[in-house]
């Protein structure tokens, strides 16, 4: 075959990519197959969803702090859009459930993962490994389009009669399918698109990292960011399909009246559900859901690790401490994350033996996580640190993620969960990981790679205002929740436990004290403070695209990795000539070298 193919191959291989001429607006920015444009599309869309998810949370916080009072500013708009559930601008209990379910869904599946994994991954990974693009550019485009469609379906579901899904982002059956509105059907359809999107994207990532590494880019010369993305992509490829299977089954339950997740003898609204066959298993949904959703937790944090590692190495001007330990840790995390899922289910009655198994694996997975964090802390040792905006976010990430991680350990123990399950303690724990953790990493990444993508710097003063405001208010929001949770405040009470605490009295045990309830108001004020300190960022982001200070060279941070050796902004096809890699990713302050950084593609 080789013989028959040889003569024609040379022409044909080039036939597919001969569109370097001028492109129309549509083919360049909307239906683009360029990994950088797709990365930016992901980034901008996901930032919008991040803001939207944040606004949902603000309205919920208002309702928690001031139950039954009309939402200020947007109250009338809410009533116009959503009708009865927002009568008089007041959030009804059902609407609170809608907001709660959709805040979780939007933040996890439409904001954080698309930002941390898809946006940075698409933009940076091919540049970092010295590739002209991803392996399958058209698949890449389809991946973004599926994501966009999934997002549109999720948003549209707010406007249907009865509103969006109300069963929580975990969508536990039977609750999720027995709520008589169609929100859950939309949620499942939206999820099918989002799952397809992440599947297409992550297959592309793995293939790209394996196949398109530049000559000389061996595995141990990959920047840590690429390793983090590699493992994350594997988690998505292998963990998402079982949720897709579960989503199909829940769709069958909802639309075709099957009983995959509905047990025998089910009562709905006081009536026996006789029309159902029964015989299904509610636990099955939880197992399938958490089989995805626990690896998903690492999908949320590993790209953050990657970004932080790059920023720290660059701004300490020294190699990362323990590069190999970091790589092996992130691989172990990837593997172990598949066998810890049922620690979300200690109280489901699945049995103490199973609980003990998952408790053990959960304790084991904390070891590589601690290694990662420790390596990054030690990397600071003896560095001459540059306190620029990306580095401030990276430095704050370390203790914030530390708080989130350490407060998670008690939740891995089944007897502690008896007290803490479904309380605000859980909320505080995972928000410390995702909000001042991953979101800070995302901010660090945006400030760090912005000059490469646009050719302009973001304003440092505004960046510092954004940083300090965010750091302070994030802590003011989430720190009191630990106290509320330990006092026993349940995470799903729509009025912030106001009704619950009416039972307060001498002979009532376990009612919440007024001090705990009053924290709701402080948290809500802090949340609005956090909103105010995002304004400098939003303005900075858009203003700097057109008016920011122009960079003088391709490598404003004096970094070693390959993306900084490409033209700014990189054209279609990235590098002027194929780069060749001669050294590891973090050759900073090498004794005897001409400069304090040696790019990976600099010949020895």
């Amino acid at each position: 075959m080789a013989q028959t193919a040889h003569d024609t191959h040379a022409h044909a291989a080039h036939a597919e990519h001969h569109d370097h001429g001028p492109q129309s607006f549509w083919s360049k920015y909307v239906f683009s197959t360029d990994h950088k444009i797709i990365g930016i599309q992901y980034g901008v869309t996901a930032l919008m969803f991040l803001l939207f998810g944040f606004c949902l949370m603000l309205m919920m916080r208002w309702q928690i702090a001031y139950p039954g009072k009309a939402v200020p500013v947007v109250g009338t708009l809410l009533e116009k859009l959503l009708g009865e559930p927002a009568k008089g601008g007041v959030i009804a209990p059902d609407l609170y459930n809608v907001f709660g379910a959709m805040h979780g869904t939007i933040m996890v599946f439409l904001a954080i993962v698309p930002l941390a994994f898809a946006a940075f991954g698409h933009y940076v990974v091919p540049l970092m490994i010295g590739a002209p693009d991803m392996c399958f550019p058209r698949v890449n485009m389809a991946s973004y389009q599926c994501y966009f469609l999934g997002g549109v379906i999720m948003l549209a579901s707010f406007l249907i009669p009865g509103g969006a899904a109300q069963g929580g982002w975990t969508s536990y059956s039977p609750l999720a399918t027995q709520i008589p509105t169609d929100g859950q059907t939309y949620w499942i359809l939206g999820m099918v698109f989002l799952i397809t999107s992440s599947l297409l994207g992550s297959v592309n990532f793995i293939a790209t990292i394996i196949q398109l590494r530049a000559p000389g880019m061996t595995w141990m010369r990959l920047p840590f960011f690429v390793w983090a993305m590699f493992v994350t992509a594997f988690l998505l490829v292998l963990a998402f399909p079982p949720l897709e299977a579960a989503a199909v089954m829940q769709l069958m339950d909802k639309v075709f009246g099957t009983s995959f997740f509905l047990p025998e003898g089910l009562f709905v609204g006081g009536q026996p559900a006789d029309h159902l066959s029964g015989g299904g298993s509610p636990l099955l949904w939880q197992h399938l859901f958490w089989f995805l959703a626990h690896p998903e937790v690492y999908v949320l944090i590993l790209p953050g690790f990657g970004i932080i590692a790059e920023v720290i190495a660059n701004n300490t001007r020294k190699p990362l401490y323990g590069y190999r330990a970091l790589v092996y840790s992130v691989l172990s995390i990837g593997f172990l994350s598949f066998i810890v899922w049922a620690h979300h289910m200690y109280l489901t009655g699945m049995g103490t033996k199973i609980s003990t198994f998952f408790q053990t694996t959960t304790m084991i997975i904390s070891i590589p996580s601690v290694i990662v964090l420790t390596c990054m802390f030690i990397s600071l040792w003896g560095g001459s640190i540059r306190f620029n905006v990306p580095m401030l976010f990276a430095l704050a990430f370390l203790p914030m993620f530390g708080i989130g991680g350490l407060t998670g350990l008690p939740l891995g123990l089944s007897y502690v969960v008896l007290q803490l399950h479904d309380t605000y303690y859980v909320i505080a724990h995972f928000h410390y990981i995702v909000a001042p953790g991953t979101i800070f990493a995302i901010f660090a990444g945006i400030y760090y790679w912005f000059p490469k993508a646009t050719g302009r710097m973001m304003n440092a003063t505004l960046g510092k205002i954004h940083f300090w405001g965010s750091l302070i208010f994030m802590n003011l929001i989430f720190q009191p929740m630990f106290a509320q949770g330990m006092a026993g405040m349940h995470r799903r009470m729509y009025d912030g436990a106001a009704t619950y605490s009416l039972a307060n009295g001498q002979d009532v045990i376990g009612a919440l004290s007024p001090g705990i309830i009053k924290m709701n108001i402080n948290i809500t004020h802090a949340a609005f403070g956090l909103l105010i300190f995002q304004i400098p960022f939003i303005w900075n982001f858009f203003h700097s695209i057109v008016k920011g200070k122009k960079v003088t060279g391709d490598n404003p941070w004096e970094a070693t990795t390959l993306e900084w050796q490409a033209p700014t902004p990189p054209p279609h096809g990235n590098f002027a000539e194929a780069p060749h890699v001669y050294r590891g990713p973090y050759e900073y302050s090498v004794p005897g070298a001409a400069k304090d950084y040696t790019p990976q593609n600099q010949a020895p």
Partner: protein, 299 residues
């Protein structure tokens, strides 16, 4: 810069991009079907023998379909090998058989499906259960359930036009019960007397004469649709998802076979790669069926 290894293999991995891509995709497919197979196990372990229908699928037809699909897996390889040996006409012949096999499989499957949609089980209020067929005006009734018997008012759209006419409640209908019920075997092993079977032993096999059944005696009525039981729920979900894969695979193979064949003239190596990649997918689809057939038909 062009994207490297789109057609040629990368020396250190030995793969071209699409081949790695399809293997990764198949890994995710394994997890997708793995999730469903796991659900099958969980549902089956939870179900009592009386509530896990058995022997309602046509094993000879299922076996025949299995051979149809295995045959298509053979022809897909023969087609690819023919092309590797530069024999385009031979490839076309074999791959045409592959596509025909796929269509044959789907047609047979749809006959099996329609068979189920007209086959019923009745749970009577006195506790006994019967399977059989319902006849209405001499025709087989489709998709009836307990709600159908109660009747329904007309459905009107916003303008008041009738979208769906009203259906009157049904007080009595014609039912041809099967000779045996699938739970009889389970009762036998438990040593309980299978009253229904003894009474009916006069009829060696097949259906009884039609009887009139009163709606008032019925607790639940369901065709063998997904809502019938967790068995049929997982049966239809798995086979429909598999059928969708067969359909998509057939469309892709047909595209490459027909309009996509121009590529053979301009870039034969890439064309052969496409056959290989689509063939890998096709083998996976076959493999899934080889697991599906025993767990749904035989076990």
């Amino acid at each position: 810069m062009e994207i490297p290894y789109n057609v040629k293999s990368r020396p250190d991995t030995g793969l071209y991009n699409a081949k790695l891509g399809i293997w990764l995709f198949l890994a995710s497919e394994v997890m997708l079907f793995g999730g469903l197979f796991t659900s099958y196990v969980v549902l089956r372990v939870n179900a009592s023998a009386e509530n896990w229908p058995h022997g309602l699928l046509n094993i000879p037809i299922g076996t025949f379909n299995t051979f149809v699909l295995i045959a298509s897996s053979v022809t897909v390889v023969l087609g690819w090998a023919a092309l590797k040996m530069n024999n385009f006409a031979r490839y076309r012949k074999f791959q045409a058989i592959t596509i025909l096999c796929a269509l044959g499989f789907l047609s047979i499957k749809s006959i099996e499906y329609s068979d189920k949609f007209t086959h019923y089980e009745i749970w009577f209020k006195d506790g006994h259960r019967q399977t059989g067929h319902i006849h209405q005006d001499g025709k087989k009734a489709w998709f009836w359930n307990t709600k159908t018997l109660a009747g329904a008012p007309a459905v009107k759209d916003a303008k008041g036009n009738v979208v769906k006419p009203a259906s009157p409640p049904i007080a009595e209908f014609e039912f041809s019960p099967d000779a045996t019920h699938y739970s009889d075997a389970a009762k036998h092993t438990k040593g309980e007397p299978a009253a229904a079977e003894h009474k009916e032993s006069a009829h060696a096999s097949g259906e009884h004469a039609a009887v009139k059944v009163k709606t008032a005696d019925i607790k639940r009525l369901s065709a063998f649709v997904p809502a019938h039981s967790t068995y049929f729920a997982i049966y239809f979900t798995l086979t429909a998802l598999h059928g969708l894969h067969v359909l998509i695979g057939a469309v892709v193979i047909a595209y490459i076979w027909g309009p996509g064949a121009k590529l053979w003239k301009t870039n034969p190596e890439q064309y052969v790669n496409r056959i290989e990649v689509s063939g890998l997918f096709w083998h996976f689809v076959d493999l899934v069926w080889i697991f599906l057939f025993p767990i749904l038909y035989l076990l």
